[in-house]
Symmetry: C2
Subunit: 149 residues, 2 copies
DNA sequence: CGACTGATTCGACGATCGTCTAATCAAGCC
DNA sequence: GGCTTGATTAGACGATCGTCGAATCAGTCG
């Protein structure tokens, strides 16, 4: 059930990323692209989910038992379960039941694409192309000098 | 008015980024770090604001008149104004009145740091599904090539 | 000054969100 | 089979969010 959601997401991201070198900074996002991208950011736009994500991401072995996650918060198990569901529906994590316990792991692909969208250029390209934003980041003001695409 | 908010944000980001080489994937976010980071993502977790941001970011000259922005949506001026305010309060954009018109421009620094937080790893790894994030060099981050946490 | 245009603030409305308790499902063990 | 433990689902509640119309503020120009 989360599969087609994922494909939709991927399609959207591909569209957004494929159009130009620096998705956000270059091509104005279309209405539909924005509509597909926004839920991804909404999924991580919560302190609890942000911490959940980082707990899962940094756990050795790459996966984390739910019991370990609930223990890290002052919230009730249902609440944690709810947040995990939100993250999973967004395609940021996946899970599997093994015996009594359920394990969650992170899916870095979507996260990386979100990162690439906001951080104007993918890290790999950054070195070769001298992309604007990385350079003028330091200053508050925009530097209108270079046309990205 | 937005000044102290900004400093708070910067402090939070510095704390989050300074603690470790790969914020999300390495150090489990503290409660307070998550509390300061989440609003940043919430600010862009809306289709309209995402489009606003991209419209401003990709506009030639680096700044955009509000009138151009409202024209790009089916929403009323007050609504656009509201979204711009949200983005500004988050520290993602700034504005200035010049005569009759108000111009907005993007502040790439915060955006770049958000990007670094969620996508701290090279995209090569991102393609492979499933496993954790080897924390390595980040795009813009001045990570001293020191111990990977 | 007074009218006009562009942008924001104010209040109100329905919709969504985050959290909880209670109930249910899943697997292991007496 | 019947407990026990771990995790999720269901339903309810208050809080926050996105949008609007109306009113207000800021400049410009007759």
């Amino acid at each position: 059930m989360s599969k087609q959601e994922l494909s939709i997401i991927d399609a959207g991201l591909d569209a957004a990323a494929g159009a130009c070198c620096a998705p956000l900074a270059c091509g104005p996002l279309s209405e539909s692209e924005a509509a597909e991208l926004a839920p991804l950011f909404k999924a991580i736009a919560d302190p609890v989910r942000l911490r959940l994500l980082s707990l899962i991401a940094c756990h050795e072995g790459g996966e984390t038992c739910v019991c370990d996650l609930t223990a890290a918060f002052d919230l009730t198990p249902p609440t944690i379960s709810h947040h995990l569901k939100v993250l999973k529906r967004a395609g940021l994590i996946d899970s599997e039941r093994r015996g009594t316990w359920v394990y969650y792991w992170i899916k870095p692909a979507v996260l990386a694409r979100m990162s690439a969208l906001i951080g104007p250029v993918s890290p790999a390209l950054a070195g070769t192309e001298g992309f604007p934003i990385a350079a003028d980041v330091v200053m508050g003001r925009p530097v209108p000098d270079s046309p990205p695409c």
